[in-house]
C-alpha cells in the first residue's frame, strides 16, 4: 500500500467517526454524506471494513432495525463514549498535522 493510500485509510476512519458523531446513521447514508462533502477516492463499499473496525474497537454502537416495507434489516451506528474521546483526539492530531503540513509545503502554490 502506498503512503498516500495509508493516509487515506487513516483519515477515512476519522471522517466516518465524525459523521456518526453528528447523528445516528447507516451505511448508505454515510457513503452519501462522504460524497456530499467531497471526500476523495472513496468507493462506497470501502466504508464497511472501517465500520467493522470502529465497531470492534468499541468506538461505535450498533442496532439492527427491521424494515416496515419488508426490505432487509438496517444497521444503525451511533457513537460511544470511547468513540467521542477518540474523535476528540483525532481532531486534535488532525489540526496539528494540517498546520504542520501546510507549513512544510509552504502554502497551496508550492504544493502544486
Amino acid at each position: 500500500m502506498s503512503v498516500s493510500d495509508q493516509i487515506m485509510k487513516g483519515l477515512l476512519d476519522g471522517a466516518i467517526l465524525a459523521l456518526i458523531a453528528e447523528d445516528e446513521t447507516y451505511g448508505y447514508q454515510i457513503a452519501e454524506k462522504l460524497k456530499e462533502k467531497a471526500f476523495p477516492d472513496i468507493s462506497e463499499g470501502s466504508i464497511y471494513p472501517v465500520l467493522l473496525r470502529l465497531s470492534k474497537k468499541g468506538y461505535v454502537e450498533t442496532r439492527m432495525v427491521k424494515s416496515d416495507s419488508g426490505g432487509p434489516k438496517r444497521k444503525y451506528y451511533s457513537i460511544s463514549t470511547s468513540g467521542k474521546e477518540e474523535l476528540r483526539s483525532f481532531k486534535d492530531k488532525w489540526f496539528k498535522l494540517n498546520q504542520g503540513m501546510s507549513n512544510l509545503f509552504g502554502g497551496d502554490e508550492n504544493v502544486k
Binding site: 447507516y26 451505511g27 448508505y28 457513503a31 468507493s43 462506497e44 463499499g45 470501502s46 464497511y48 471494513p49 467493522l52 473496525r53 470492534k56 439492527m64 424494515s67 426490505g71 432487509p72 434489516k73 438496517r74 444497521k75
Partner: protein, 259 residues
Amino acid sequence: MLSEKSEKFLKKFRIEMMARGKDDEYRDNLEEELRDHLMLAEQNGEDLESVTGGSVKNYMKTLSIELPETNHLRRKILLIFIFLVGMFTIPSLIGGDFDYTLSMFIYYVSLTLFGPFLFYLVIKFIFIHFTDLETEKISTAGIVLCGLYGVIYMALLVGGLYLADRYPIYEFMTLSSKSNMIAGLFLLGIFVFGTVVMGRWFYTFLIIALSLPELSAKIFVGGDPKDENYIIVSAIVLFVVSAVVMTVLFFYSKKEVDD
C-alpha cells in the same frame, strides 16, 4: 427488489465468507447491511460495481481482516497435519525402523509446510465453485471432486512415504531400535498430553490406537520388526484396533444422528 447481478454477488459473497470460516453473526449482519446498501444504491441509479468494485474476491480481501473467524478452519487443518506427521512417525519410531534420511526429512517438511496450505486451497476452491447458490449445499460434482481429491491426496502421502523409504538420498544417522523406541514413546507422550490439554479426545484415542500394534508387538515379542512373530502380533492388534475404531465411529455417528 435487488437486481439479479447484485443478488448473485451477495450469494457468492456469503459462500466466500463461509469458506473462510467467518463468524455467523457477523456474516449475516454484513450481508444484510450490504443488501440494504445495494438496494438503496440501485434505487438511485447506481450499480454493483460502483459500490463493491464487482469482484467478490477483491472485496472480500478488504473485509477479511476485520471479520472474526469462528471455526478457525486454518488452525484446525494445521492441527490435522501435525497429527498426520505424528501418525506416520510415531508407530515406525516405536517399531524401531524409522529412517533418518534426507528423503524422509524432505517428505516430513513438505507434508507439514505445504500439506495444510494445498489442502485448504483445494477445499476452498471446491466449496466456492461447487456450492449451490440457492441451497448453500455442495453439489454432487463437488462431492465427487472431494472424494477424488481425497484419494489423490492419500496416494500422494503414502506414495511419498514409499519413495522416501526406497530412495533415501543421504542417511544422516542410524539409531538403535531401543533409541528409536524411546524417541517414539517420548513423542507419543507429547501427542497424548497435547491432545488431552486441547480436549481432542478422539485424536488421543486414535494416536494411541495407531501406536498400539507396534507397542504391543515390541512388548510381547521384542526384537526385529521384520520378525515373523512381531508381524503376526502387530497385525492381530492392528485388526483389533481397527475393529474398535470402526465400532466407536459407528456408535458416535449413530448418536449424532439420534441427537
